[in-house]
């Protein structure tokens, strides 16, 4: 269990640590860490970088033919880890206010994480080698075919949500820079 879901346990551990840190800040400042101040802003930025990593690194590795650096399964574990911890940090960044575009972005983040869970469930239906290559013969042709169809369907849903999320996030970042960070 632990071995098979190491990235989930690590993600849980990281989230507990971040929650602890959040609790300390909450205790000492006696206010919900605002999105615009050191802690709230920091977890927002780091969380978003994690989310960017989630989106790009695994995808690049999967499609790269020249550089075969690291195992696909490790990259998938990192993808899952950052895909959980990043959104969690972004959630704490919200300071529990979900106005306007920032609120929409948070909503999309929550959806993409749920979608990611669903995708992982479908993905693990297909037996793979340590490099992530599908292993033939363990499933019946019919079951494998159905799993692949499901996977393709999931991709057509998951990717547009992700794209919408990142566009909303970038606009949010741009607006934050314009209206707050570079405010004189």
């Amino acid at each position: 269990m632990l071995r098979g879901n190491r990235e989930l346990w690590l993600a849980l551990l990281a989230m507990i640590l971040i929650t602890g840190l959040y609790g300390l800040v909450l205790f000492f400042t006696r206010e919900i860490p605002p999105a615009s101040e050191l802690f709230g802003h920091g977890i927002g930025i780091v969380g978003f970088i994690f989310m960017l990593m989630t989106e790009t690194l695994y995808s690049l590795r999967k499609r790269s033919r020249s550089v075969r650096w690291g195992r696909m399964s490790t990259w998938l574990q990192l993808h899952i880890f950052t895909g959980l911890v990043g959104p969690y940090m972004v959630l704490l960044h919200t300071s529990w206010k979900f106005n306007g575009l920032a609120g929409v972005t948070t909503l999309l983040t929550v959806i993409i994480v749920i979608s990611g869970f669903v995708g992982r469930y479908i993905f693990t239906r297909i037996p793979r080698s340590m490099d992530g290559m599908e292993i033939e013969g363990t499933l019946s042709q019919e079951a494998l075919k159905q799993a692949r169809r499901l996977m393709a369907l999931w991709h057509t849903i998951h990717i547009p949500i992700g794209v919408a999320l990142f566009i909303a996030a970038f606009v949010h970042i741009g607006a934050a820079l314009y209206y707050a960070t570079f405010l004189k």
Partner: protein
Amino acid sequence: MQSNRLGCLTGTGIIAALITTMVIAGYIFTSGSLMFSPGALSTHSDETLGGVTSHAEIGRDCKACHTAPWESAKMADRCAVCHTEIASDMQSVASMHGKMSHDNPSLSCRHCHPEHRGADAQLTTMDSALFPHEAVGYSLNGHQLTAGNEPFVCDDCHHGDISTFASDSCQTCHSQIDLAFTQAHLLAFGTDCLACHDGVDHYGDNFDHNKFTFQLTSKHANVICTQCHLDARTIADLQALPQDCNSCHRGDEPHEGRFGSDCAACHTTDGWTPAKFDHDLSAFKLAGEHAEARCEQCHQNNIYKGTPTDCYSCHQGDDEHGGKFGTDCGACHQPTNWDNVTFDHNKSNFPLTGRHTGLACEQCHTNAQFTGLSNACTSCHADPVFHAGMFGLDCAQCHTTNDWLARYNGSHPGIADEGGSGVNHGGGTCRDCHTQTLSAATCTKCHDSNNPEGEGGGGEGGGGDN
């Protein structure tokens, strides 16, 4: 199936990107930048500024407050457009806003007045350490930590509304620090703490009374404030306390006012005793033997004030003249010694001239009478028989004090001399002819009766001694 492109650049991905971009752009086009607002603006409404009564009324117009990063104008400049009164305050360090921005140049309006925190949110929140509290009349120099050793927050003193302050805030904490002192202090000086205290701790342990005109020396330095400052309620009350000794020490006065009210003439703040009285500062300087006298010799019955300064009031009993020289002893006597007499008769109304100067006093002042004597010659000199009553009593008509020789130039009956009255008849004196009295004369002293033209002939002759 597999390619080098990113996984997101699928057909549905690109379509999603386009749709998202269009939705956001459309929203910006219809509603401005409202979707970027992190929260509602305040509906707090005090007055109409810039045509609106609250920030919420311009909540859809981001540009009303926000400037672009590349603009030279700052957000504070946008605040100043409506809040003109505050903007002018900012120019003066005497005002709270001016002092604050002067002390903290990096501070902007929004640092203390954050927005987008909801319709009912407080529009003013600030780090109390930044607030130039002295600019509103009360410094927080002396209020760094509460009685519980915690940093002060606004609410500790202001109870919810920073624009008001109740003195009971002071009492609550200061009673915890020193109950006895606080109660005594409130009783002595009242409950309006701010009437005297401005937070700079002028009246605490570092208070130096000697910076004022009334310096606390010696024993004054040890008295408690209320021994002098009774019923003071304001700084003006404290400063209005009279500084003369008597206003505090009237009750300590054992002299019953006999020495007047200037205690410091004799006493110092080192103590009531020893007292040093300088009699020479009074109207009666103690010259000569007076300096040796004991106080009670002059000041009888312990009465010091109003003692007469004339000699006779004390020295009547010493008057060996029996009052005959009057009461002004100082006219003749010095304070050094009774025997040191300097009587100048010429200062009297009868200056002594001629032969009068050589006389013994008692030749004129018979019966030891020195006052009230007549100036008339006749009071001493009787009209001589020789005059036979012919010249009246004014001796000085013919005589001086040098001698009795007469200088009579009046007419002389009966005889004549050459071009004269006859007084100098023959160059003789009165007594040449009038040997006994002017009423009888003989000629024969000069004139022979047998030879009336010859020497020694007699005839009537006039007195005319030269």
